[in-house]
């Protein structure tokens, strides 16, 4: 269980997260949606302990950070580090050694090449592989589907469902609604740092429709395309 109670975050006088209350249960996949700048990434960093905040983040295993696989939107890679070394670095950090990395290279990545030479999608797949091999209990995946090819997206969806079966906690953000509706049990909507709505699977269609209407509005008509 991860329980977020009254979490707020400000940069100087700018409050970017306001009184967030969420509960994530084991064996449950939760989606976080919101426009760019809604506070999704900041919320993830607060849960991970990479940002300071007010409020509480409680978890059934302590400290949460040591059991959390965090996939950032745009993972950073050192120059001159190979894919295999990157995975090893992240596994060593969690004291997981003697892992057969080649055997677990499910995305067929060129692991002996420098990670900096990888394409955007390959970099994301590498980062995902690394946090999976860390054998975490909790996963926060910030835009895991972005830049990844269709085939790998299918694999990734299956991995998320497998993690759910294994009773892990998975929190995902995505701009592609279909990827969330395929995997999530609940979706939380953030708007300008506020938790606007929390919706269960049964109401995903309504949420999608609402989001479409709010987002599109009369923007396309404003263009007066000819």
């Amino acid at each position: 269980m991860i329980n977020i109670k009254g979490l707020s975050k400000s940069y100087n006088n700018n409050e970017v997260l306001k009184e967030i209350n969420m509960k994530f249960s084991r064996g449950c996949v939760s989606g976080i949606v919101g426009e760019n700048g809604a506070g999704k990434t900041t919320l993830f960093k607060c849960i991970a302990g990479l940002e300071s905040y007010t409020g509480e983040v409680l978890s059934d295993i302590q400290p949460l950070k040591n059991h959390l696989g965090l996939l950032l939107t745009d993972p950073f890679f050192f120059s001159k580090i190979t894919g295999k070394e990157y995975i090893r670095l992240l596994c060593n950090a969690r004291n997981k050694r003697n892992i057969n990395i080649d055997q677990k290279n499910i995305f067929d990545l060129p692991l002996n090449q420098y990670a900096s030479t990888y394409s955007t999608g390959m970099k994301k797949k590498l980062a995902i592989t690394a946090i999976l091999l860390q054998e975490n209990e909790y996963f926060i995946l910030d835009e895991p589907f972005n830049g990844v090819d269709i085939q790998s997206n299918i694999v990734l969806t299956e991995i998320i469902l497998k993690l759910k079966d294994l009773d892990k906690i998975i929190i995902i953000s995505s701009h592609i609604f279909s990827t969330l509706s395929d995997t999530c049990d609940e979706i939380h909507l953030l708007k300008k740092g506020e938790q606007v709505k929390s919706v269960q699977k049964i109401d995903f269609k309504t949420l999608e429709q609402e989001m479409k209407e709010i987002t599109i509005g009369n923007r396309v008509e404003k263009l007066k395309l000819k």
Partner: protein
Amino acid sequence: MKDYFKLQLVMTNRKIKEVGLNPILGCLLALILFVALSEYVFHRTEFAKYLIILVCFSFQFKLSENRRTDFLLSTFGDKSKNKIRVLENSIVCIPFLSILIYKNLFFEAIILFLCSITIALFSFRTALNFTIPTPFSKNPFEFSTGFRKTFFIFPLAYALTTIAINVDNFNLGIFSILLISITTFSYYSKPEEEYYVWVHADTTKSFLKKKIINATKNYILLTIPILISLLIFYPIKFDLIFLFLLIGILFLWSIVLAKYSAFPDEINLSEGFIIAFTLLFPPLILVVVPYLYTKSINNLKLIFNDKY
């Protein structure tokens, strides 16, 4: 084009300010350092003029990097890109030209200037795509990535040791240990992204312990061919050899700890001064290491969530 150079000036000033210096003072210090170093090199070796030209070229090659010149080409067009590059290389070579002219090396100065203009018209791929093997692959990342960036230093250092033994120059052998030491220190000069510290399932103490043990093991591995050679050929100087090894290790520790005491910022001026001062008076290292250790522990507490 004018705006481009204005922007470059703003960015350079920003970098100097990040170090904690006033930009004018920073430029002045850099100039003094450059003149002093050049004088030192000219005083020490007859190959100084080649070294000056090579250092100038290395800066210019970086400016000619493929992706950079592609950006200039797509933004400013072919003609302006060439003008910008020629102007950039001319600016870079001014201090090096001045030194050569000051030393009455007019022929070399002309060659340097002409080559600088020529280099400006080409672009190069500076990054090698093939993977350089490293003995540190099992425990990334500082030594594995650092080794690949500075791999050419090690054959050079081992060759110097061989020469030292052949010409019976013990000091040259010690110099090769110092060369490896300085190279490995550079692996810890820049802080990594916060994520790469956060990701460790450790306490602050165990994290620092691991970093220090790993750095020491790898440092010894790189210096061991020199140490064994010197011990075989200069057994009576074993105390001096081990003293330099010990100093190298202690300085390595202080650099690792200085990095994490300033983390996530770069090692700042105060830590830099402490280390520089310790270089002048090495016994101080025995005080500096515990001081930086305590500072690192306090600094990293938050990121490691150390209440558990």
